[in-house]
Amino acid sequence: MEIFLLQAGNGLIIGSVYALVALGLNIIWSITDIPDFAQGSFYVIAAYVAYFAVTLAGVPFLVALVLGMCVGAIMSFSCEKFLYRRWRERTFRLAARTQLLCAIALFFLFANVANALWTSKAKIFPAYLKGSLLGFSYMRINVLLAAIILFLVVYVFINKTKPGKAIRAASMDLGMAQVLGINIDTVNSIVFIMGGALSGAAAVLVSPLYSVFPTMGDLPLLKALVVVILGGFGSVAGILICGVGLGVLEALGAIYISSAYQHGYSFVILLLMLLLRPKGLFGRV
């Protein structure tokens, strides 16, 4: 029973990391139709920047976290502005294909830049907080707390502020939003900045628990994509539930079924769900 709770708790924490990356991907995907794989590499670069800020410059963790978010946001913003945007006016099919391919290319590019600059050897991110509660270190608990805060911020931003409402309008009907005078370039920039910041935050939060290495973005990216589809481009809350749910299921599957296939469960869950509920668990339609 104790193992069960411990694993469930760990699943909850890793699941909230998936959910954070997924939240950004979800907002980007539902507005621009781009499954932005490149977020996986912003995640990596943000973690490295935070790592160097802490180890070389000795900044406090909170500053490193903000720094990581800024790095993610700037990279994400630039990629949209200088790359994805140029194909938007193309015919839909060509645009979609080109943007997806570019996203994958960017993902490879930055992951390999990290590899070339800092080698594939994992770097240990120094612990910033000692002690634990009920078997969970404070650092783990902080991941969960930070995720909840960021989710609340995004929720309030999307639902209560003017730019947030513009984003919601654009995600429902892009054409109509433009008619209503919403500047689609601005909306795109905002969602990519949000996405990058969330990816960066997830990366820096998780780094002290594991370590920093060039392929660290692969799994969170894969899982986040699953979460987005499971959530069916649904609400902010839907993403949180799916992300955390996936994390917990995986963690429990690892001890009760087999740990070798831990990262395959998400695929099985995805396929089952697509067969049963092709619109996603929290789909709008």
């Binding site: 294909r97 590019l109 590899n115 994509l225 697509l274």
Partner: protein, 310 residues
């Protein structure tokens, strides 16, 4: 077909036939890789270029074919000449099982699902150690048995074997996409709802395009297994699937010849950069983005523009 194309095709064929006689064995190995990748991208083009759905799991079928063929010959002592078609058929049927549910999804949903499927299969190759020996790699795979008095222990003979299969596969795909079936496949890419409304069984045609494409990748996998005689899960990891997608798109999908040229060009570029393994994928990714900026339709699009004089 234009006569210019025929001449170009002839020159390439003669060149390919001559390679083992004029080049070092290293070049022959690279040429084999290029031909195998051409077969993969050409079969991939049937699904993504002609039928439309963007797929990211071609290497999974490639690997499934390779392991099936290798295990059949290793565990049951079956002849390569029987194992090859059996692995092709096995992968085809596997394609039906996977394709039927997955192809109900449209657009990026399908793309991302295949992405996971590819990763899932890699985990299977890695973890089914009783069969695949996992990360240790599966070695000792026999070369093709001699047939019609031809012995396949030499590199040259193996090269020609793979070249012939490559030509046969491309010929088959060429005939298929230009046939009546091929036109129905294209109708799905162009407008699935309209195709269904005029009486095309789109679900069936899509599953068939997916499964045939998979089966051909399986045959390519079998050839790979018996040429290199050593299989490792990473060969069939998602990186390889991505590589196939990129090669095909760089060449220009939906043209059959584009993906083949793309496979040749990208294999060549990656080999040229062996001196700097760290920079390989960086240069490669930048090249890819550059091509997308210059012409999103790939090399085929660039050629079309040159020919059109624009």
């Amino acid at each position: 077909m234009l006569s210019v194309n025929r001449i170009a095709l002839g020159i390439i064929l003669i060149f390919l036939l001559l390679i083992p006689h004029i080049a070092s064995s290293y070049v022959v190995y690279v040429a084999v890789l290029a031909i195998l990748f051409s077969m993969l991208t050409a079969s991939y083009d049937l699904l993504t270029g002609y039928a439309g759905p963007l797929s990211f799991c071609h290497a999974a079928f490639y690997g499934f074919g390779a392991y099936t063929s290798a295990l059949l010959t290793l565990k049951t002592g079956m002849s390569f000449w029987l194992a090859l078609p059996i692995s092709g058929i096995a992968v085809f049927l596997f394609g039906v099982v996977v394709g039927y549910p997955a192809l109900r999804l449209r657009g990026h949903y399908f793309a991302v699902t295949t992405f996971f499927f590819g990763h899932f299969m890699y985990l299977v190759f890695l973890n089914a150690r009783d069969l695949t020996r996992g990360p240790l790699g599966l070695g000792g795979i026999p070369p093709p048995d001699s047939i019609f008095g031809i012995d396949f222990s030499s590199l040259t003979a193996n090269y020609y074997l793979i070249l012939i299969f490559g030509i046969l596969m491309v010929g088959f795909l060429y005939a298929l996409v230009n046939s009546g079936y091929g036109r129905l496949i294209v109708s799905i890419r162009e407008n699935e709802d309209l195709a269904e409304a005029v009486g095309v069984n789109t679900a069936f045609v899509k599953v068939m395009a997916f499964s045939i494409s998979a089966g051909l990748a399986g045959i390519t996998g079998s050839l790979f297994a018996h040429f290199f005689r050593l299989l490792h899960p990473t060969t069939f990891a998602w990186m390889t699937s991505e590589m196939i997608v990129v090669m095909a798109l760089v060449g220009g999908i939906g043209t059959l010849v584009g993906p083949i040229i793309g496979a040749g060009v990208v294999t060549f570029i990656l080999e040229m950069m062996r001196f700097a393994p760290e920079l390989r994928f960086i240069i490669w990714a930048i090249l890819l983005i550059a091509i997308l900026i210059i012409e999103p339709r790939g090399l085929a699009g660039i050629f079309a523009r040159i020919r059109g004089g624009i």
